[in-house]
Every structure is written in C-alpha cells, then in structure tokens.
C-alpha cells in the first residue's frame, strides 16, 4: 500500500512537472506578503506549478537531498529569487533553509548530522519541501508542499575509491616489508646527516658535563610528527642513559608528557640504568604556545644544555627556540613536517631533518622491523607516485584526461 502511494505520488509529481499549464489553470495561486496571505496574486504560475522534485544525493550518510523546481521563463523576470523551506510532514512546521536567485531552479539541502541541531536530517527519513517565489513587488508566491523525498545513506563513498585502493596497496606493501624485515632481510636506508650526528651531539654533552634538551614540539600525541619524535626520543634517551648524562624534556601537552615519560623510562630500562630515571626529567610546562617558549628559553639560558633536539610538530615558536639555543652555543638538531617552520630550523640549527626525513630517522635509528618495513613501503609508494605522474603527464599531453579522472578523489 505504501509503495503504491509512493508510486502514485511519483506519477503525480511527474504529471506536475510535465503538465504545468494544466495545473496552472486548475489551481489558485497562494500568494502572501512576508507574514500574511495576500489577496492580490502576483505573476503566474500558481502554487503547484513549481513542480517540486527531490532526489537523494549519492555517497553520503543520508543527510543530503537535491530539490528541483520549475518556473515559467516569461515570469522569471518578475521575481527576485526563491526561498526553500523544509518540513518532516506536509502539514508540519516548515523551516526556511536558504535562498536561490531567480535563475536557479535547484537547491542542495545539506542537513546536519547531529541530533540536537535544528537542521538535523535523519537517514532513511521522508522530507517535504516548498518553494516561495519572491516577487519584485514584495509579494510571495508559495508552492504547495512537495514530497515525500527520502534520504538514503550509503555504506561506501564511490568518490573515495582511489583512497581505498591506496590504503590497501600501502597496507600490502607495509605488511610485506615488515615480514621481510622480521625474517632478517637486509633493508637498506640511506644515511641521514642529522641522525648520523645524534651520537656525536650526545657525546659532546657528556664531555662538557652539560644536559641534553629534547623538545617534542607543541603537537598533541595524535600528530604524526610527535609520534615519530617519540621513537627518536627513545633512542636518544637510551644513549644518554648509557653515557650517564642528564636529559631534560619539557612538554607542551599532558598526554605527550605521559607517553614521553614511558618512552624515557623504558629506554633507561633497556640501557640497564633504571635507577637513574626520574619522572622529573620529563615534565609539563604549559600548553599556551608562547608561555611554553618563554619557559623553555629560560631553561636554556639557566641550564645551558650542550645539545638541543627539536623534533616534532612546531609552529611560530620554532625560530625563537632555535635562536636562543644558537645563542648559548648548543649543537642543535631539528626536524619537523611543518613546511613553514623548516626554513627557520635550517638557518638556526646545525642539522635539520626535512619533512619525511623525520619519519625515516626513527626507522634508521631504531632498525625496528616495524618501522623499517613502513619506511620501505613508503618508498614503494613514492615509486608508484612517480610512475603514475609520468604516465599521467604523457596522457594529458595526448589529451587523455580519463586517466587523471581515474585517480581523482571526488568528495
């Protein structure tokens, strides 16, 4: 019965769309001023002639509908635009969604996904629309409610297929190389100057009897750069524990501090010096960016570390930190994936790990099969990127744009 009703409504709608003139003769226009119904009709067509149609938008979670309507070309000049209204039932309270100019005959209704929001659109739900034409003389011609139009959520976003292929491909490479590394296969990683200098820098601090300062940046534990920095911190802390020198790790974020404490503690344990570890080595300063900088600058000026590491996520504080470190004569090794901050580290530090070198450094230092396997998979990924770019460029030269479209992500 419900399907029959829907079929009937669809047929009715199709009839409305195709037979405006018939409807315009039979129906009276519903015209109104801003708030009240007006007696004087504006220009045709009458209400139901708007021919409202709606369709669910694909590749979403059921919160988008496209509404289309029609309006006679000869009458378009008499109006300034349209208002689009939505309700959950034809007799329910309609809520205005937005406006469209007089030469637009469709509206994409993107509802909110959150329940308490007033413009919430539920998945698998029916909605009714009406369109109001705003006359140049201020009068409003209101369509009859059109609908129901149903929202459907999809499990798979077809526009993101290239991302799925990429994730699967990268996952396979990672899995393969991790297995290979675990089986003892020799995986070559080219030397990185900044990382080669780590031992030398810690040795210098030991000789001078001064501490080593390790800054994890101002990122949270979810930043990839911070995660990479944890791996390097582990290696640095182990070396420091072996040399029995002092380590200072002032942190910007409380969760980062917790993880860093665990990393340093386990490094001291691995080095056979758990008694030398203290939670006071890794401490929280503040999570206000420039207050943190002021605090770390003070530490540098008073404790005079011989070696500074700045590895992780950095923003505007990078140059202030690196300049202060430079002024006290510390050997400085920096690395970040923030493109805008790398130049500052390049000019003020002895060694800089540029972008992805920061990720590679953790694998290079640790020789851990998991990290090495991931690094190798990344390299294979880059190889595929280069090959695809070359093929794509050749294709575009010959006008075959289909190849580029094949790997484009359509959101």
């Amino acid at each position: 019965m419900r399907h029959l009703l829907r079929l009937f409504l669809i047929l009715l709608l199709a009839f409305v769309v195709d037979g405006q003139s018939v409807y315009s003769q039979e129906s009276d226009p519903v015209t109104s001023t801003a708030d009240s119904v007006a007696t004087e009709p504006v220009t045709p067509p009458p209400a139901s002639a708007f021919g409202l149609a709606g369709e669910d938008m694909p590749n979403d979670n059921g919160h988008k509908l496209r509404v289309k309507w029609q309006y006679p070309a000869e009458a378009v000049g008499d109006i300034t635009g349209f208002e689009i209204w939505r309700a959950t039932s034809p007799t329910g309270e309609f809520r205005m969604l937005g406006q469209a100019p007089n030469d637009y005959f469709e509206y994409l209704d993107i509802g909110n996904k959150e329940t308490p929001a007033p413009d919430f659109m539920a998945n698998n739900s029916d909605f009714f629309y009406k369109v109001v034409a705003i006359g140049k003389n201020g009068l409003r011609t209101e369509s009859e409610p059109g609908g129901p139009f149903r929202t459907y959520g999809q499990w798979f976003h077809r526009g993101k297929t290239p991302v799925l292929v990429g994730v699967v491909l990268f996952g396979c490479f990672t899995f393969y190389f991790i297995r290979a590394a675990k089986k003892g296969k020799e995986l070559y990683v080219r030397p990185l100057a900044g990382i080669e200098a780590v031992d030398e820098a810690i040795g210098r601090a030991t000789e001078m009897g001064k501490p080593t300062l390790y800054i994890l940046g101002i990122g949270t534990a979810s930043e990839i750069a911070t995660i990479a920095s944890f791996a390097i911190l582990g290696r640095v802390a182990k070396k420091i524990a072996e040399y029995q020198t002092q380590l200072i790790v002032p942190c910007y974020d409380a969760i980062v501090m917790s993880i860093a404490q665990d990393v340093v503690r386990s490094s001291y344990l691995q080095a056979g010096r758990p008694d030398q570890y203290s939670d006071d080595m890794v401490y929280f300063v503040t999570n206000a960016q420039f207050a943190y900088v002021a605090g770390v600058n003070g530490i540098m000026m008073r404790q005079r570390p011989a070696t500074n590491f700045y590895l992780g996520y950095f923003a505007a504080e990078s140059l202030i930190l690196a300049e202060t470190g430079n002024s006290i004569g510390a050997i400085q090794i920096a690395g970040t994936d923030q493109i805008t901050q790398i130049p500052f580290f390049v000019v003020a530090c002895d060694y800089t790990l540029i972008g992805e070198e920061l990720y590679a450094a953790s694998a290079y230092l640790g020789r851990d099969p998991l990290l090495l396997g991931s690094l190798k998979a990344e390299d294979w990924g880059k190889g595929i990127v280069m090959a695809l770019i070359v093929v794509g460029v050749v294709a575009t030269i010959f006008g075959w744009d289909g190849f580029r479209e094949l790997i484009r992500v359509n959101l």
Partner: protein, 247 residues
Amino acid sequence: MTTKRLTGHIVLGVVLLVCTLSIVVKGLLVTVGALLTLFIFSFLYKDNPYYKFAEHLFVGVSAAYWMCMGFWGTMVPNLFGKLYPPMVGSVIPALKDNPPEPFMVIPLFLGVLLLLRLSSKAGWISRWALAFIVGTTAGLNLVRYLRSDFIAQISSTMIPLYASGAAGFNLGETISNSVIFLGVMSGLIYFFFSKEHKGVFGTGARTGIIVLMVTFGASFGYTVMARISLLVGRMQFLFDDWLGLIR
C-alpha cells in the same frame, strides 16, 4: 658610584616616573601589560630577573588558565553535559534538555585509565588509553594524508608539459607546468630513502634539494613578514595604548 650604576639608576627612575604617570592617565592594567611586555623584551639583552619574573608569571597563569579552560570548555559540556545533561543545566542551560549519550562512558573510562598513571601499582594500565589515542589518530590520519597529500598530489601534477590553448602554444604555462613537474619529481627522488644519492639518482636528489631550498627561502620571507606584523602589534600597544604617542 660608577657610571654604569648611575645609568641604571637614571633608567630605573625614568621607568618609575613613566609608570606612575601612565597608571594615573591610562590605568593600572595597561601599565602592567606594558611593563610585562618590556620585561619579556629584556631577554633580547640577556637573561635577567625581570625576564624571569615575567616568564614565571606567564607560564603559571597560562597553565592555570588552560586547566580551567580544559575543565569548563571540554569536560563540562562534552562529558558531563552529554552523560547527564541536567547536571550542567545551571551552568549551560542550552544543554539541559538534551538526551543523555551513554556512549560517553567510553571516553570517561579512557580518561580514568589515563589518571591511573598517578598510581605506582596500576600505572601501567594507562598505556591502554595512550595506545587507543595514538593508534586511532594514526589510523585516521593515514586516510586523511593519503587523500590530501598523496592522491591529490598525483592528480594535480598530471599537467601537460606542452600547453596550448585557443591562441596556440602557451609558453608561460608550458614553463610553469615543467617547473612543477620537475620540482615534484626531483623532490620525490630526494625523499627516496632506499637508494643512495649517487649517479643520475644523485643528480635528481641534488635538484630536489635545490627546489626545496628555493621553496623554503620563499616561505621564510613570507613568514618573516607575518612576524613583523606581530612586532608592529606590540609596538602599537606600547606607543599607542600605553604611552599614547601615536595619533
């Protein structure tokens, strides 16, 4: 009395005079703000007690401020307000009538696990919460970066090296496209870690580092300009809001 000491006394006297006048004319808060700004600037000379005072005040106040913000801005509306909305009704009336969200018990549980760090015996349990945070965000970021940095990069670099339009051959666009293509390819070669930078591959990597350095140079200049505007803002505060010299 040495000249250096005398100079110090004179400077201190002038500062005190200016401060007294500014408190009368501009009010206490602007004067305190200006003094703290000058204390921070004094670091440019060398570390000194004034800088230490401003630094400790800044760090302490900001840590306390963000702790309060964390509680009232995150825990109250996002945890208590969702678990049991009437509980925060007196503080945030808009949340009072919202339906409770029982799933918020999960973040509450993870938060409690994190706090177990404070216990010497059960501290190891906090690693579960940390593993959840790091693992989840790394997984989410993988997809995000793959889409924005990886696939978007490929399709954006697929540009014709021989550009022509309605007017025929376009030299400017051809050069521009070629620079983009060579820059991306040489940059990718530089960041290839599985092969030593020797021979043809080494030439590609050296080109890559040149391209990177040119990019960094441009970025450096652009960012320095932005930082200058921050300095101008501070100078405006000192010379206009405080001293009233700019009119």
